[in-house]
Symmetry: none
């Protein structure tokens, strides 16, 4: 720890954290296209030049943002793995509004930011594998209609349904939401180990 080489904008820097926080808030509130040097600086109460000092290119900033979010997701997933009711914890993870809105923005961004896309794909695959571990440990699934679906497929189903609820909900679409949510809750209850 003492001999770590200090790089520009060390992870520990409070300034750096402020920028990432501001960038995240901007992306959440106004969409990915709003993450610009100027706006990030203004929101963080800093000078635009300083943002470029820490993140020379916009790609650098976006990748750092993604990494920070990915770390948070990883931590939540790890917590779910050792939770008393892992399936519910996983579902809560998928249905979490705060992270999923950002995920959507990053997915839209991935279309035209190659470096970012490769990070995202790699992380998605890793998360899916971790979810497979979680789902494989649930004996109750064997007696359910989902017995036919391997854990990896189940992970995708839950992710898709959760994302749909969050994305549509964020926009203001309500039709079918209560019903879908109740249906999932019902199965979570039945499958509780």
């Amino acid at each position: 720890m003492a001999t770590v080489t200090r790089r520009i904008g060390a992870e520990s820097s409070a300034t750096r954290a402020a920028m990432l926080g501001a960038a995240e808030a901007l992306m959440r509130d106004e969409g990915y296209a709003a993450v610009s040097t100027r706006k990030v600086a203004t929101r963080a109460g800093l000078k635009p030049s300083l943002v470029h000092y820490y993140f020379p290119t916009t790609d650098d900033l976006l990748i750092a943002m993604f990494r920070r979010g990915a770390d948070q997701s990883d931590a939540m997933l790890e917590a779910a793995l050792s939770a008393p009711d892992p399936l519910r914890a996983l579902w809560d993870f998928f249905a979490d509004t705060s992270r999923t809105a950002l995920t959507l923005e990053f997915m839209a961004l991935a279309n035209h930011r190659k470096t970012l896309r490769s990070f995202m794909v790699e992380h998605s695959e890793q998360m899916r594998e971790r979810q497979v571990e979680l789902l494989s440990r649930l004996p109750a699934l064997a007696d359910s209609p989902f017995a036919d679906c391997p854990p990896a497929g189940l992970s995708l189903l839950l992710a898709g349904i959760g994302r749909a609820l969050v994305m549509e909900g964020g926009m203001g679409v309500v039709g079918g939401h209560a019903e879908a949510r109740a249906f999932v809750e019902q199965w979570l209850e039945r499958l509780r180990g």
Copy 2:
């Protein structure tokens, strides 16, 4: 309906169609932030001023783009309603790759384009209602594990799963895809009828 205001640049104009086509290609290839007066004009081989002539503001252009896509989706959905196997037709609609990249961009856009968002919400709700009609007509569902889930909820589930397959697939994520797809296919087969 009879009092429709005549707008500049009639819907039938070939020039107008060329612009919308160019804008759609741009959004698909480079993301929503690339849909600008200049780029649309360049891509369509027209002058930037002409784009403003047809679409005074960027919002006007985006709304027209959304409307055109929505009309296509509506047509596909209507076709599904009278298809021999409506459930499969609905699923094919959800799993269709051609529209999904654009849908994602529009969802990201909706974050900071209020007028666009209201159009999108309204259209989503209308589509869900039409899907409810479709799903309500399927007696086979009563014997399935989805009997507990009202049609509106089922519509959301299928939409979410389909979107997840297309969105992740478009990025290059593959884990769990074959499994999830097989699981859905299996149920489509069982519920045919």
Copy 3:
């Protein structure tokens, strides 16, 4: 003439001419690196945006500058061809301070502006050919010590000596200038046809 398609920033535009004039003055006074949107606009009393309207990229501006200068050079060379004493006219052309300072800047620029370089090479070759025509018509050369040197070589010698006088003179170097100039003048006198 009447049916010429008007392009952005038609050659006839006074605004365009003002920009090119300002850019030329800047390059002469402060070097090629001083030719920037802002400085050109300020010097011409116009807005920076307008410069980009006429010359979308800096390369476009530099190429237009070069073309204008090349046209002037061409005209001067044509005049020399029909001058009473063509050799002296050619030498005056080479020793002309106003053009040669710019030529130097463009040569330095050519190092890292590929498109510009190809224009310059092509133009240089054309000018040399025209000078060969001029020099081939001088019978007096046959009796001189330069009889051994073909016209193309002579063109290069004169160009190099003229450029050296102008370049060094512009910087403030004086050693050998009077002597070299006198030597050339002496031969011009002797070779006068």
Copy 4:
């Protein structure tokens, strides 16, 4: 001479040499405008701050670069003075490609770097004087058509012709080059002492 002020970053420093080398490579490859603190540091694998430590201002760096190049030129010229065929050695010096790209950049730079310009003028005058010494020792010149031209003038002629060959050659201009070169070679041969 005995009271030379000790400056930061001794001339002998390897770090300093690395910076000057990087700066020279940059100027050669991308033009004088590319010689910036950052780029020099990056190219030398050092931190930008360190460049400022050694060369407080950009002028300091450019002057050091010029001095280093001037020292090399001086050494070449001294070698020519004691060469078996001094005239040919002088010509080889003028026609040497390695230094000329940089010379051109420095000449363009001199336009707006006053301190640099005075260094360059002083050095040019010194070099010309040294060349005069060399040329004064050649008795063969007396029988040539260049007898009328004092050594200082001859120095300028040769310098200009050599520079023209190198500069144009570097750009890709070829017309007249073989002819001019052959003509000079012929005279070098005739005047060989």
